[in-house]
Symmetry: C2
Subunit: 218 residues, 2 copies
DNA sequence: AATAAAAATTAGGCAAGCCTAATTTTGCAA
DNA sequence: TTGCAAAATTAGGCTTGCCTAATTTTTATT
């Protein structure tokens, strides 16, 4: 079994690879984990020895297949627990991240299998992030950033790329929830503000920063 | 916040005090925690500095009020999670201890409050052990050991003092479940075997060892 | 190619929690 | 009361995962 520290490295490396391509730098990892580079070098040496990551001289490192599967397992646990916290316990979507960060390190395959079944095999967490199945496969979601859509486009709001409480609360405030239909009415050239039509013909104007944090599908 | 190691000490000390009276010995703690005495001495020095336990020269040590409340909080979490695992996820009563040992160390007061409400404020865990409320109070249960009852007595089976899988599975096998009525039909003087009448007029003969692990109320 | 800045690694340390071995303290029996 | 055994503590060490400071390697710029 892996330690919590190792699991946090695995998750962080996985996410960095997702976001920035193949190879991950020591400095990038240090930054997202909030620790010093020397510590990262240390830990990666140990994780290399365990065949969880592979170095490539002066190019960085990446997860091995073993490491990738372990990382997906942790992400699966995190997201299932988030669903539990919101759907069953009644937490708000901006409150669950820290608790799930702890729960994701509980070691019991049977627990996760039963939790998954209890939640009725959800495909996404409360922020729209996809949940891999027990075999590590994601039901692929072909969402795009709202900021990439031209005026006139429409679709369904299915995820966020900014998971901060501040952002999630902002969405609550303008009345935008996961699954809602969204139409891009107008894009102001000058400041890139987006005018959106929401459910119930409600028009809202959001900044590019916001448009760049919303994922749209369909 | 306390570390998992500290929490395990707190829980162990609490249980030893419950079972054997006030003062707890280094050796007893080392034994139940499965570690060496020197390690216990180390840790207790640290926990003393934090005012979680109080030494009494050459008499042993005991929990301070602060330590007692912390211990009860951990026991509360452990038992609530056990209820969740059995009632919601469908685990058997002999399977939940190890998983709850991990879950009890999750730090979030709000999580426990919501879990408690979600489970409808249970008063006992799947083994009949009482669950303290949010203020640390146990709804007192005045159960007695079956082995202390004379022939002819009857009551309800409300708890066990042996939590091993082997014992719990044995109870399943003879068809005895928490809450069932039990009557002591006969006690054999020679070998102290107990003949019990269970639900549906089923008679079973159990050893003294078994009678000594069953708690009866009412 | 020279060199400065950025990235990475090495070296040495620290706290938590455990260990073994050695020593001291305590308690009980003769 | 002595003396031995059990209990407890001290001393020194180890691993994990982090730290700072110093050094080396890489990369980018001129």
């Amino acid at each position: 079994m892996h330690s919590s520290a190792e699991e946090n490295y695995l998750k962080a490396i996985y996410k960095l690879q997702e976001a920035n391509g193949e190879m991950v730098a020591t400095s990038a990892l240090a930054q997202v984990l909030g620790i010093h580079m020397a510590s990262v070098t240390d830990m990666l040496k140990k994780m290399s020895a365990k065949k969880l990551v592979a170095y490539q001289k002066s190019k960085g490192f990446k997860l091995t297949e073993k490491g990738r599967l372990a990382a997906i397992g942790i992400i699966r646990k995190h997201r299932l627990w988030e669903v539990f916290l919101v759907d069953k316990l009644g937490f708000r979507w901006d409150e669950v991240h820290e608790i799930a960060e702890q729960l994701e390190h509980i070691h019991s395959q049977e627990l996760i299998d039963k939790l998954d079944a209890y939640l009725d095999f959800p495909k996404a967490d409360p922020h729209g992030d996809p949940i891999p199945d027990a075999k590590g496969n994601f039901a692929l979601n072909k969402s795009v950033l709202l900021a990439a859509l031209p005026p006139g486009s429409q679709g369904k709001f299915t995820g966020v790329t900014d998971h901060s409480s501040a952002f999630l609360n902002y969405l609550d405030k303008i009345g935008l929830s996961l699954g809602d239909p969204v139409k891009v009415k107008e894009v102001e050239e000058y400041d890139k503000n987006y005018t959106l039509m929401l459910k119930g013909k409600k028009a809202v104007v959001v900044s590019f920063k916001v448009a760049n944090s919303l994922l749209i599908s369909e």
